[in-house]
Amino acid sequence: MTSKRLPSGGLIDRGTTVRFNFDGRSFTGHPGDTLASALLANGVRLVGRSFKYHRPRGIMTAGPEEPNALVELREGARREPNTKATEIELHDGLVSASQNRWPSLAFDLMSINGFAGPAISAGFYYKTFMWPKSFWEKLYEPLIRRAAGLGRAASQPDPDHYEAMHAHCDVLVVGSGAAGLAAARAAGEAGARVIICERDFVPGGGLLLSPADAAWRGDMVNALEAMPNVEILTRTNVFGYYDHNLLGAVERVSDHKAEPDQHEVRQRYRTFRAKQVVLATGASERLIAFPGNDRPGAMMAGAALTYLRRFGVVPGRNAVVFTNNDSAYETALALAEAGSGKVTLVDVRSQSALAAAMTARGIDVRLASEVAYFDGKTALVRRRGGAGGDKFVADLLCPSGGWNPNVQLASQSGAKPRWEATLASHVPGESVQAERSAGATKGIFGIGAAAYDGARAGREAAAAAGFAKAQDFALPERGPAEQPIAPFWEVKASGKSFVDLQHDVTAEDIRLAHREGFSHVEHAKRYTTHGMATDQGKLGSLVGSAILAEARGEPVEAVGVPTHRPYTMPVAFGALAGHASGAHFQPVRRTALNDWHLRNGAVMQPTGAWLRPFFYPKPGETGWEPIFREARAVRSSVGICDVSTLGKIDVQGPDAAAFLDRLYINTFSTLAVGKCRYGVMLREDGIVFDDGTTSRLAEDHFLVTTTTGNAAPVLEHMEFHAQTVWPELDVQFCSVTDQWAQVAVAGPKSRETLAAAVDGLDLSNEVFPFMGVGEGKIAGVPVRLFRISFSGELAYEIAVPSGHAETVWEAILAAGKPFGIVPYGLEAMSLMRVEKGHAAGPELNGQTTAADLGMGRMMKKSGDVIGRVLAGRPGLADPGRPRLVGIRPVDTNKRLRGGAHIVREPGSGTSMGWVSSVTQSIEHACWIGLAMVENGEALKNQRVFAVSPLHDESVEVTITSPHHVDPENLRVRA
């Protein structure tokens, strides 16, 4: 136990103790701790094993850049892998486990990989697990999975809820450090709507490490909380910056609880549409590559300061701080103040004005020096580039290679990062969207300077959003300027110097990538997997680039870093899916008769967004029995079916008829009022788009029906042509699909049934013939009647204002009772339409022309029609194209399959077409089908084969007319 809790200091509540569990052991901590700080306070040094070499690893950072301390959080259905101990807010009852170790953390058999070191170099997987192919599934993949596993996902459904929320604001501030708080305050004082997002559970960022600024932080947070126009969101990480100033974030609403409260979501996916954005995301400390920089006890200097100042934890006893810049001096001081053991400060720079002050505090300062080796117990410190050196007992080694401004979001917004030599890092480039960076994000360090810059950015952002009022408020003092950083990336000494700890990428791997031709930074990244782990290279990406640059003989800025893309931090799929899972996955559309179907035992099936009754099984019925019973009732007597899902479009205006003439291949201007007509419309490329019946209700008033699936596309097609192609036509139309429920009453007894139900309309064949349209009343409800048929029987469709649908449906059922009326579902309807040979979805598949479907002669002789010209292209007009035909098996015991190929001889490799729809027929007591067959007309009555290699089936079939039932069409006119 080399780390421990200090008796005082930090932002933890020592008065309260919380219990938690790590790898089966119980520990205690305090509110305000992270899992990482609590583990350190308990002296836990080893928290995980590395990805490739299974090297033991300890806590390296205090934030989202953590590469090592990945743990499985919670148990059972709530188990979540790959969470960072440095990001987990401690709570009572927290259960966590280390991962990527087998069989246990302390004794890991896989660490043999480390001894096999050189074998597992960059590109190892690409080179090794290639041949033979048959080894992949059985040997390589399981091996890699075991070796590579980064935690286990829960295997049960996630019991928690997630949701999305969309916010708008004038100024979005990302980050609540000195710059962020000042920016939000300035924008808020100006009157703008401000949202400030903080990833952490406490606002303050770097202020949390500065006891001297605690009062200012408190004042600022209080002032912001008092402003009604400012919203502070903590635990909210902004992960992406998208086009048109849209930013995405995840709010971890209840990750700090064992279980969410009742009605509470676990995480909330948030979007922000901001007029202006201030990025105050701070900076991340970068690694130095030296042998053993991954050993437990290695901890970034800034992280060590965080554990000391924020959590009151001393992360080690004897410390070596290794730096090329001033910031780590504060870590050395804080360690010395904590007063446990020896503190050595190793600075690569040959001069430092701060050295004397350090020495005065008992810190051993070694200038112009470097750390050549660290093994967790001792560190070797030598003159830069020299040999030998002094060995120091050290259980804590704190590197600081300088600070990288967190330019990720700015970069995602389109601002190309710019190299800033004084920082040896990138700063945000020129803004492309309405954003500006402030404070450390922009390379302005120190609390006072960052706050001053943040206030400026907040004022400017508010003014740009239209809020110019400026109001001064107190800002912290600006400190003295720092000494220049000495760019320093790697200590050249033997041993593994890591640039990516999570993916075990070493400096040597980068050089290997270069030697093997992967010299572009994007190629080197993918070849070595550098920066591709869940910490996304926050610690070492630039270090890797510098090593690559040296190998290429170019400056770092010429090599650059890989492009920053969302997400800045890992995001759970559950959060992105939000509420839209399970029953809420997509909208459900219910007809007005939905309740009746449910009450009467219908088996409901989603078809697109709609819920439709498939059939209404009676007790004991199985398989096709209910379908046959329903279809037989229609063919022999009468049935009733909910066809409300048909698209219905009300078309009016003096030019309504002219408009429809251009939409459909056939003519509607000649249709008499009170009649309807079947129509076919094409796409402009000549392929059939949709079909349906259109009724003329008045000289200038039509009702168009579409297929269920095409209701929305047909309306958009009509709108496009009316608005943009023929704006001169005086025509108005709108969807009335939901206004009218529609019911089909079909079968030889349908007229008698309706005669008993309908008032005010004579249904006799003379007065109301096939394709007639009329109005009447059923049960007092005014309805429209259409004499049309999909089943091939005498049939009617009745349109009823949807609120009265059930009344009318029940009245028809009562009227049909003497004839044994039955409700029939989609399956019986489909059976009958295949028997009748009506083309539907499988035939209107976006490949067929009107001629292919046997409707070529419907095309009117003259006039402008959408699709007419291109339908005439030779390829589409070729009479040899697949044509719609019927098929029946020669052996009536054989079943047919949709999707089967039509061939001359079994085993023939040449397909003549395909089977589009099949059903068991009640008219023919065998399977029947519709097919698209080349030269189908000429093949009538010939025998061919329907082959389905998937089922290893080959069925001899006879080509017939597609009309398996009543080809003369007498029944519908009876």
Partner: protein, 91 residues
Amino acid sequence: MHLIPCPYCGERPQDEFHYRGDATVKRPAPDAGEQAFYDYVYTRANPRGWHDEWWQHYAGCRQWIRVRRNTLTHAVAASAGPADALPEATP
């Protein structure tokens, strides 16, 4: 999620719109012949940069609007109603 400025409804998120593509092609006269219709349906310049496109505000005012969008940057310079013209050119 882009913002599309509808000339009737103002800026709206992209998921309220359906995209149709090139708004510079014009449906030929019915007797213009096969090649003219072929070009209308299939031939596209696919420019890098500013492009005039049809977008339908299907979840809003249902108008097919012309949108001048930069295919490289996704910036939108202008929009116009179905029967209205976009400005001459965008630099």
